[in-house]
């Protein structure tokens, strides 16, 4: 089984996610990019599970956990973005300076 192409796909997905996080200014897009990164990790988990023929299916179970966590995280993240948008009429990350010293 040739895993290299799949690994490259996952790495590419991950890099796109990082790129999105770093350069996008819209916070919704940043959240989406985070989803991309998590999915890249999921792909890796499932891939290695199949590659190592793990009868316990640990990789797949773990990816289900990640999906769950990602869903919860998006829920909370979007809620935060929504609240900030309501207060400031913007979703631009550069305008969020609440954590500044």
């Amino acid at each position: 089984m040739n895993i290299i192409p799949i690994l490259i796909t996952a790495a590419a997905l991950f890099s796109i996610g990082i790129y999105g996080i770093l350069v996008r200014r819209n916070s919704v897009m940043v959240l989406l990019s985070i989803e991309l990164m998590l999915n890249a990790v999921n792909i890796n988990f499932v891939l290695f599970n199949a590659f190592l023929r793990d009868v316990l299916l640990q990789g797949q179970i773990f990816s289900i956990f990640i999906i769950t966590v990602a869903a919860a995280e998006v829920g909370i993240g979007l809620a935060i973005v929504l609240m900030i948008f309501r207060n400031r009429q913007t979703a631009n990350l550069n305008d969020f300076d609440l954590l500044k010293w």
Partner: protein, 673 residues
């Protein structure tokens, strides 16, 4: 590390075998610790409770009473000898140990303390109602009982000393309960100082014994003393006398008895507790605990014990005759009765001495509580302002009469058996002179008690106001104690039942003493005769040919009266002979030395120190330490100001930094491996 271990009396194989007391003995520490916990609880919770903390005190004493009663039953049925030690440290080869001893003697003391304290506590709930510092009073009272339990439960001389001093402190607190009056606080100080003087003897004695025996454990010391241990034999007589000096202070023996009558300044329940179960019995207990020591190697010291005891019983009794203060009559009576106990122990009559302690505890507590009831009703201590109370206070009167008869020594009440046993032992041991004094003492006892009863309860009422019978909470303890005053003597009737002998004889080291198998008829008839004569004499003087007022005038004509009224001038002697010279001569010289030499020296030292201090302050403190501290804080502030710029609040900047960090680490790892 706490290390509880028990020594079953292994070296006592030659003696009768006793039970080890089982669980009951193992947890006997509870009754010693409980009063202290109760005292804490009363201090912190007492004021919020409906009875101001008194209920905690009564409950704890009730537990102690029940526990000691169980122990007593166990001791009667099987006999209990056991000791427990907890090591808390050591000085050189000397182990510092606390613990508890459960044997016949300590169980008897537990029971006396538990029973009398219970009655006194219940009584005090009513008697002290509305008095100042009510809660504090119960705290001290509980501590007082607890300290006495520490004392009588101690298997080591060290713990005994601790309990001994605790009792002294608590007595100071209680005697000075009404410290707003100068007289009362002086009485408290007097009691404390007099005891302290005696305690020096005890302390030196304990140190001598512990060093020569190499241990603080009483049973070890007694074992060594009775088995010809050389270093103990050498110091035995001196140590015995020193220990006895300690006992003289606590047990108010002539001439250190002066504190005890003044201790009447405390509330009456305190007097009752102090004179019956706690404090004054400590000296008797000490002699009884060390009995094998006095009986063996320290035998010469016993002669002194006997002499002091007889002197005390006679002179203390005489003083009781002239008192007008009802409580002081009882106080001197206690002095006299303690003299009897010490005499008995000095004569080698172990059981007789303890028997008298046992019976005396009950009827003296009864008499004091009765006196308290009277004082509560008429509002004065002076018998010249009492009289005719037998109809208004029937319960108090009846119980007081029982106490009087018991103390006078008429059969079949308690005092008869114990006093008779002392007389019988004295005559058996061949102390004819002392025997006669003790018989005369019985006469005096009966006389002053009858006088007190007549002046208090018979004739016309001479005071003001309308006295009335006390509340039930006060009369119930009187009734219970009067029952005890009747039956307490029946535990040791020669020839019929001698249980008490074996109760208190249950000891690690067997007591060797003479114990009469039947009544000594001569001693008994003489003792009885003198008691009856005493009562009759008082009857004739105060009722038949006179009354309560004129009676005193008849005996006042006697030349000894003045000496007695001035308490043998002992207080004067102490003031003029010791306190005044100290105040005038010594104190003045010391003062001169103080101002001329010491003060100048101290002033010079002070000035030099101040000068030195100034130098140190400006150079070392300000220049060195302060500057260092300041620069550290300024440096931290500056650094913080620079570093905080990183915290821009921009998430993406953080992420960039984070990622570059991760990359950097990855590269480093990649390059290295």
């Amino acid at each position: 590390m706490v290390n509880i271990h028990t020594i079953l009396p292994v070296f006592l194989a030659d003696e009768k075998s006793f039970g080890d007391g089982g669980v009951l003995a193992e947890y006997a520490w509870l009754i010693v610790v409980l009063p202290f916990i109760a005292a804490l609880a009363i201090t912190f919770l007492g004021k919020k409770m409906p009875y101001g903390g008194a209920e905690i005190a009564v409950a704890s004493i009730l537990f102690i009473f029940i526990y000691s009663f169980a122990l007593l039953i166990l001791n009667i049925s099987k006999g209990v000898v056991n000791e427990f030690y907890v090591q808390i440290g050591s000085i050189g080869a000397l182990d510092l140990e606390f613990g508890w001893v459960v044997d016949g003697l300590s169980i008897m003391m537990f029971f006396v303390i538990g029973a009398v304290s219970l009655m006194v506590f219940i009584y005090a709930v009513e008697y002290m109602k509305g008095e100042i510092r009510y809660t504090f009073f119960f705290t001290s009272l509980t501590l007082f009982a607890g300290s006495m339990l520490v004392l009588v439960s101690s298997p080591t001389l060290l713990q005994l000393l601790v309990g001994w001093e605790l009792v002294g402190v608590c007595s100071y607190l209680l005697i000075g309960h009404y410290w707003e009056e100068k007289k009362n606080s002086s009485a408290a100080i007097k009691a404390f100082i007099t005891n302290k003087v005696a305690d020096v003897g005890l302390m030196i004695g304990i140190i001598m014994l512990a060093l020569s025996a190499g241990t603080f454990r009483i049973s070890d010391i007694l074992y060594k003393a009775t088995h010809g241990h050389e270093s103990i034999s050498k110091i035995a007589v001196v140590a015995g006398i020193l220990l006895f000096i300690g006992a003289m202070g606590k047990s108010a023996q002539f001439p250190l008895h002066v504190w005890l009558p003044d201790a009447m300044a405390g509330p009456t329940p305190v007097s009752a507790l102090m004179h019956a179960a706690t404090m004054v019995t400590a000296g008797v207990y000490l002699l009884a605990r060390m009995f094998p020591f006095y009986e063996g190697v320290a035998a010469p010291a016993k002669e002194l014990v006997l002499l002091v005891g007889v002197l005390t019983l006679f002179f203390g009794g005489c003083l009781a005759i002239v008192q007008d203060d009802l409580k002081k009559v009882l106080a001197y009576s206690t002095v006299s009765q303690l003299g009897y106990m010490i005499t008995a122990l000095g004569a080698g009559a172990y059981t007789a001495g303890l028997m008298h302690l046992w019976t005396h505890a009950f009827f003296k507590a009864l008499l004091f509580l009765g006196a308290g009831s009277v004082i509560h009703a008429v509002g004065t201590n002076n018998m010249s302002e009492m009289g005719g109370l037998k109809d208004v206070m029937p319960k108090t009167f009846k119980t007081f009469i029982i106490g009087t008869v018991a103390l006078s020594g008429l059969p079949p009440l308690a005092g008869f058996f114990s006093k008779d046993e002392i007389l019988a032992s004295l005559s058996h041991e061949g102390y004819a002179g002392y025997f006669i004094v003790a018989v005369i003492g019985a006469f005096i006892t009966a006389f002053y008690m009858t006088r007190a009863v007549v002046k208090t309860f018979f004739g016309e009422y001479r005071g003001e106001g309308h006295p009335h019978e006390s509340e039930q909470l006060m009369t119930i303890p009187l009734v219970v104690l009067s029952v005890m005053a009747v039956v307490a003597g029946w535990v040791n009737i020669p020839g019929i039942y001698t249980g008490f002998t074996s109760w208190v004889g249950t000891r690690g080291i067997a007591i060797k003493e003479y114990h009469p198998d039947s009544f000594d008829l001569t001693a008994m008839s003489l003792g009885l005769l003198s008691a009856v004569t005493g009562i009759l004499a008082a009857y004739f003087i105060y009722i038949k040919f006179g009354n309560a007022e004129t009676g005193d005038e008849k005996i006042r004509l006697q030349p000894v009266w003045k000496i007695l009224e001035n308490k043998y001038y002992l207080d004067d002697l102490y003031i003029k002979g010791i306190v005044d010279p100290l105040k005038t001569q010594v104190a003045r010289k010391v003062d001169k030395f103080n101002s001329k030499v010491l003060d100048r020296f101290i002033n010079t030292v002070g000035l030099a120190t101040a000068f030195l201090g100034k130098i140190v302050y400006s150079n070392f403190d300000q220049g060195g330490i302060d500057k260092l501290v300041n620069s550290v804080s300024v440096g931290t502030d500056n650094a913080g100001g620079k570093v905080k710029l990183i915290q821009s609040g921009r998430v993406q900047q953080y992420l960039t930094l984070f990622l570059s960090g991760v990359l950097l680490i990855s590269i480093i790892i990649f390059v290295l491996y």
